[in-house]
Symmetry: C2
Subunit: 262 residues, 2 copies
DNA sequence: ATTTTTATTAATCTAAAGGTTTATTTATAA
DNA sequence: TTATAAATAAACCTTTAGATTAATAAAAAT
């Protein structure tokens, strides 16, 4: 099952360390009637914009169909020309780049956004990926990497260079560390709730009042009150809102999902 | 499968697309008095356990100091021997592997856990990384990859093979997609709240009742009620709990934080 | 300069929520 | 068999929450 080693050589490098495994750059098919990849560039620096355009247009299968120096223009261009790729500089002043990516994603034109920036800040990378960026590259990186990134993203992959990927994961795990402490903590008072009390709390967490809960569970509303009072005591809270807040802060709904899933 | 591409050598593979860029396998220093990396294996299948042990012990700088066929034993061994690496099979029956990883993380011994499993399920990968796994590899992968993963993780990196990394990001973005729609949406009804109403809602979201809110804002509780009723109308909800739920689901508190931060 | 609108304040009244006790039924453990 | 825990429900009572109306001051529009 585990192949012995020593046969690695080329193996080793290809084996892993990556988001994208296949080196598609070698597979480029320029022969077939492949439509050119439509690219739109967004950068507030005009010179920079032209520089990148030159670079990308060197590639015969890419076509920079438009450029924009501000976000609103970019949005309009994307709506009109339906590009495959949007290279988005996220250091732009007026409207910040992350918001821009969000708005482009909301258009749902299928345009794949690659963030292009000077900052390798963990939080920035994390937020960019969160809102749907398909890639994130630094301006300091080699031009070949930019081309490679576009090709990878065009294949439906996510492109994060090695170093940034590490940063992403560090930040990712840091972000979830606290959540795990509480959500996973066996010391949650939620564990003492009975099945029925959980059902009641779940409905409260969805915003129902006692009468509605009673109707949904086919029991009297006085019974609901009894359950709720027991919930208050067990969770050590004094009203419905606090109970709901406790439930949310202690991953009650996540836990519910897991119960169904597993 | 992803070691193909003939010419791989270093080129493309080194360009990035990865969590770990440097091919540390070529840099292994066995000359200096490097202490051996202490590894503990956890797998409910004894034969499998022995197989992996053999494999890892072939590496002169690794040392499998203990093995365990169940989680509780593993936890004790980790506490006692403080290993550098824990290779954790997450298909174990009694206590599931993810819970096990959580518990090991909670020990905070500094042991780096690598998940080892037969399933390349997106959700499983995501959850494993969330709770702090430093790597995730499939049993079907080449043995060399296992060794490589350990070396990378020992350098403080996160190791996710190419294919799994893609799955991870797909799942990651899918998970945050809904959150973005609401949290980023400028169409939130929260925007219509006045300053005072925001203050009231913020306190409600912290679990205070009307009297407490009144005291905190130095106004009468009947005034609080007025504000709250206006909030209800603006948010189109019918009680306090629903208002708080609306606030939370629409990133009210996040927005508050941003206001301070930015 | 004046109306108009908006934000903040507040009192009154009704409905709902919350606290306490008691009681019945059913399943489960000792 | 007898405790024990869970789910159900009612009666009683107190407090809080929610709806309605209205006064005041400041800002905006005419």
């Amino acid at each position: 099952m585990w192949m012995s080693k020593k046969n690695c050589a080329c193996n080793m490098n290809s084996v892993g360390h990556g988001i994208t495994g296949s080196a598609s750059v070698y597979m480029r098919r320029e022969t077939e009637f492949t439509k050119k990849v439509k690219v739109i560039l967004v950068d507030d620096n005009y010179d920079h914009l032209m520089g990148i355009r030159e670079l990308i247009n060197l590639e015969t299968n890419f076509d920079v169909i438009a450029t924009a120096t501000n976000v609103n223009l970019a949005i309009n261009l994307i709506k009109r020309y339906q590009p495959d790729i949007v290279l988005m500089d996220i250091n732009m002043p007026e409207k910040d780049g992350l918001t821009a990516i969000s708005e482009i994603e909301k258009l749902e034109t299928g345009a794949k956004v690659i963030a292009l920036t000077g900052y390798d800040d963990s939080d920035l990378i994390f937020r960019a990926m969160k809102i749907g960026a398909k890639g994130y590259i630094l301006k300091t990186m080699a031009s070949a990497q930019l081309i490679y990134a576009i090709e990878e993203v065009m294949q439906g992959k996510i492109y994060l260079p090695s170093g940034l990927s590490s940063r992403f994961f560090e930040y990712f795990q840091k972000t979830f560390k606290e959540e795990n402490k509480t959500a996973n903590a066996s010391e949650t008072l939620l564990q003492y709730l009975t099945q029925r009390e959980e059902e009641v709390l779940e409905l409260l967490t969805l915003g129902y009042n006692y009468k509605e809960v009673a109707n949904k569970l086919f029991i009297s509303d006085t019974t609901v009150k009894t359950h709720v009072n027991n919930i208050f005591q067990k969770l050590q809270v004094s009203d419905r809102t606090q109970a709901v807040l406790y439930a949310i802060n202690n991953g009650f709904m996540n836990r519910k999902k897991l119960k169904i899933a597993i």
